[in-house]
């Protein structure tokens, strides 16, 4: 059984079964990445387009490698080279990609809902690689994969998400995914960076790490954008680091086998202390590897592939 949907726009609309299917399918994909010759013919003849309106080396490279390992023809379009700067609308871009014969379009965009516009105008599959503050579903999938692999399961775990929740699509996607999978999720950040109505998403908000971290099995540390300080959302980077920086001492309040995660790129010494990022708790590098595997799984499933057992030829 495969995925019975054209697009992946958010984790919100995924069922538990769909999430499990993607995570299960990522297992054999990771074996491919470990091979000497990382190439399977699964997506041969498929055209995969990375349409990035925001710079993101990490996510774009991850999708690109995922496509290449599966023999898809991958093309990158980033803002500097696209017609976006010339004022072409997203709708027209979608129509252009459609007639060029794109099979899968991966979009990163600063405006929430941009992938939905593409999806409406494209018969190709659309994958949301991050839209505004809305969702970043593949990041949540790779985070869930990493947690599941290390902890055996997600259900029953206590996960703390720390930082700028207000502007974080990673936080939103993880909240949807982790709560669906049965984790207990709390969000920790300055009150100016906690969005309104966040508790209604089924998470507990805290404004201090001391309150939120005890008993945590997983800590997901979010990148703090330095421009938020200029907008007056917190006084200084120094004070932010003092109040919300994840230090070794604070990690000590969590469970002894706590996992430390970060979607990258990190501001070492701001939201995360260097010794924490490099500690035995840290699975930050595994997240990157798993990201490629999860994206391979997703590409495979959206291209019509049938699940983990059929995934490797």
């Amino acid at each position: 059984m495969g995925l019975s949907r054209k697009d992946l726009l958010g984790i919100q609309e995924l069922s538990v079964e769909e999430i499990q299917l993607i995570l299960d399918t990522a297992e054999p994909m990771r074996d491919i990445i470990r091979r000497q010759i990382k190439k399977v013919p699964t997506l041969r003849g498929k055209a995969l387009i990375n349409l990035f309106y925001e710079p993101s080396t990490r996510t774009r490279t991850s999708f690109e490698l995922a496509g290449k390992y599966m023999s898809a023809d991958t093309i990158n379009i980033s803002t500097s080279t696209s017609s976006a700067v010339k004022g072409e609308t997203l709708k027209d871009t979608a129509k252009t990609l459609e007639v060029m014969g794109a099979d899968i379009v991966i979009i990163r965009h600063g405006a929430a809902g941009a992938p939905h516009i593409l999806s409406k105008h494209l018969s190709a599959s659309v994958i949301n690689a991050g839209d505004g503050f809305h969702e970043h579903p593949t990041q949540a999938l790779l985070d869930m994969y990493t947690i599941r692999e290390r902890k055996g399961q997600i259900s029953g775990l206590k996960v703390a998400i720390v930082g700028d929740i207000l502007h974080s699509r990673v936080a939103r996607s993880n909240i949807w995914g982790l709560t669906k999978m049965g984790a207990e999720v709390c969000v920790i950040g300055p009150s100016t960076l906690l969005p309104p109505g966040i508790a209604e998403l089924g998470v507990t908000p805290f404004t201090s790490l001391e309150e939120g971290l005890p008993g945590a099995d997983v800590i997901i540390v979010l990148r703090v954008q330095l421009e938020r300080q200029q907008k007056g959302l917190f006084p200084t980077i120094r004070e932010y680091a003092r109040l919300f920086g994840v230090t070794a001492e604070r990690v000590g309040m969590a469970k002894p086998d706590v996992l430390i995660m970060h979607p990258g790129p990190m501001n070492r010494g701001v939201e995360i202390a260097p010794e924490v990022a490099d500690s035995v708790h840290s699975v930050i590098n595994e997240q990157v590897t798993n990201g490629v595997a999860v994206r391979m799984a997703l590409l495979y499933l959206l291209a019509g592939g049938g699940g983990p057992h059929e995934a490797i030829g």
Partner: protein, 428 residues
């Protein structure tokens, strides 16, 4: 030219007259109201089983001319008004250039005279260019026929400027219509702040952005004694502030739009930019409060804030789309659906909010069907059903979240100054 509206139920609350009657029209005026009037050669309009109302007045419309004719013109906007059951509209000055002087008020009047299908009453700007700093030539604009002043869409942030504007406008007995929005609190938001803005990942506009300005302008109204009209009220807190102001006996009135008493922020789901409007669609509690305010008289007027945009402007990412919903052609149907049919307002009360009160607030000699009155009449078929088709709108703007909705209770005939301009849902 004589016209006889025969056999309808006349609802004329201003004259305390609500019963089956005929209305005879002669030379653009109502010449007789009564039973079994003789046609005597007059053209007869059969209004059996229909409601005969004083012509509806929409006191908050954006006709976009001059300067923004791709969105709407006085011709297309007034046709939309006629199709929607309105005989008069008051148009906001945020055109290009902004209507901030006598010449532009005269331009609108002359364009309305040549192209307009319904009566058009210009609203002048409060400040030059609606820039919020220097008063516009309010006295001149009044002489040219402006019926109110407003910097709608670009709220006057400086309280001292607003105070002076109110004091100055009072000399001319002109109402000041306030678009209440604290720009700093609104903080570039694109939808109502709350659960749904968090879920959709869009920047929110808090209720406070509206309410602090409603509070400010009520206090300024108290200080200056000027007639202040609060435009498009959208939150429970604003309703309560206006209620308190009225209890105090202040000269404050308020309006609500059909979209604000019909839709909540949940409608933004799917990122349909047809739902992007300022003030934004709020919460269920706010809708309840707005309806309550309409019911108890706190909110005097239903106005559409008809804000047409081109398809190209709206067919973009939610963040980038302009604010605005076209309202003229769905207002009556939505008012029946949300207010009259469920029993929240009687037809008589609805007529007060869509004709009597806007006429009173703007000082127009309209809003009633007494002998000698202008023959502006709207005939509504309370049983007529229609599915909203935005492609059939007379407005150039198709930006409505109500496409596909079935509405019941729709205008079938519109008479302006004794002339039939709309019949059977089609412009004449």
């Amino acid at each position: 030219m004589k016209l006889l509206v025969r056999g309808g139920k006349v609802i004329d609350p201003a004259n305390d007259f609500c019963q089956a009657a005929d209305i005879l029209i002669d030379s653009g005026k109502i010449s007789a109201v009564g039973q079994n009037l003789k046609a005597n050669g007059a053209e007869v309009i059969d209004a059996k089983n229909k409601l005969v109302l004083p012509g509806l007045i929409d006191m908050h419309v954006h006709l976009r001319e001059p300067g923004l004719e791709a969105k709407e013109t006085i011709a297309s906007g007034t046709r939309a008004a006629a199709r929607g059951g309105f005989t008069s509209v008051a148009c906001m000055p945020n055109t290009n250039p902004v209507v901030d002087n006598q010449a532009l008020v005269e331009f609108i009047n002359s364009r309305a005279a040549s192209d307009g299908v319904v009566n058009v009453f210009p609203i002048g700007a409060i400040t030059k260019g609606s820039a919020g700093s220097e008063l516009a030539e309010i006295g001149d604009m009044k002489s040219a026929g402006a019926v109110a002043i407003s910097d709608d869409g670009r709220p006057v942030m400086n309280a001292q400027v607003m105070r002076l504007a109110m004091e100055y406008a009072k000399m001319f007995n002109l109402p000041v219509i306030s678009h209440c929005e604290d720009i700093d609190l609104a903080a570039n938001g694109v939808m109502h702040e709350g659960y749904f803005s968090t879920v959709f990942g869009l920047k929110g506009i808090s209720r406070l952005a509206e309410e602090v300005m409603v509070a400010r302008d009520i206090m300024l109204a108290e200080l200056t004694g000027t007639k202040v009209h609060i435009a498009h009220i959208s939150t429970a807190g604003s309703v309560e502030l206006v209620r308190m102001a009225k209890k105090k006996g202040l000269n404050v009135t308020a309006e609500a739009t059909p979209h604000h008493f019909t839709l909540t922020a949940e409608a933004v789901g799917g990122y349909d930019t047809g739902t992007k409007v300022n003030p934004p669609l709020r919460g269920a509690d706010d809708i309840r409060a707005v309806k309550e305010g309409l019911g108890d008289g706190t909110i005097d007027v239903i106005a559409t804030d008809h804000a047409p945009h081109t398809v190209e402007e709206k067919d973009v990412e939610y963040n980038y789309a302009p604010f605005g919903i076209v309202g003229l052609e769905t207002a009556v149907g939505l008012a029946f659906k949300e207010l009259v049919n469920p029993g929240l307002l009687t037809v008589e009360e609805l007529v007060r909010k869509m004709s009597v009160n806007p006429a009173r607030i703007l000082g127009l000699p309209k809003g009633h069907l007494g002998v000698g009155a202008d023959a502006d009449i709207t005939i509504v078929d309370p049983g007529l059903r229609e599915v909203v088709d935005v492609q059939r709108f007379a407005s150039k703007g198709k930006n409505s979240p109500f496409g596909g909705w079935e509405l019941k209770g729709l205008p079938t005939v519109v008479i302006v100054g004794g002339r039939v301009v709309m019949q059977d849902r089609e412009l004449v």
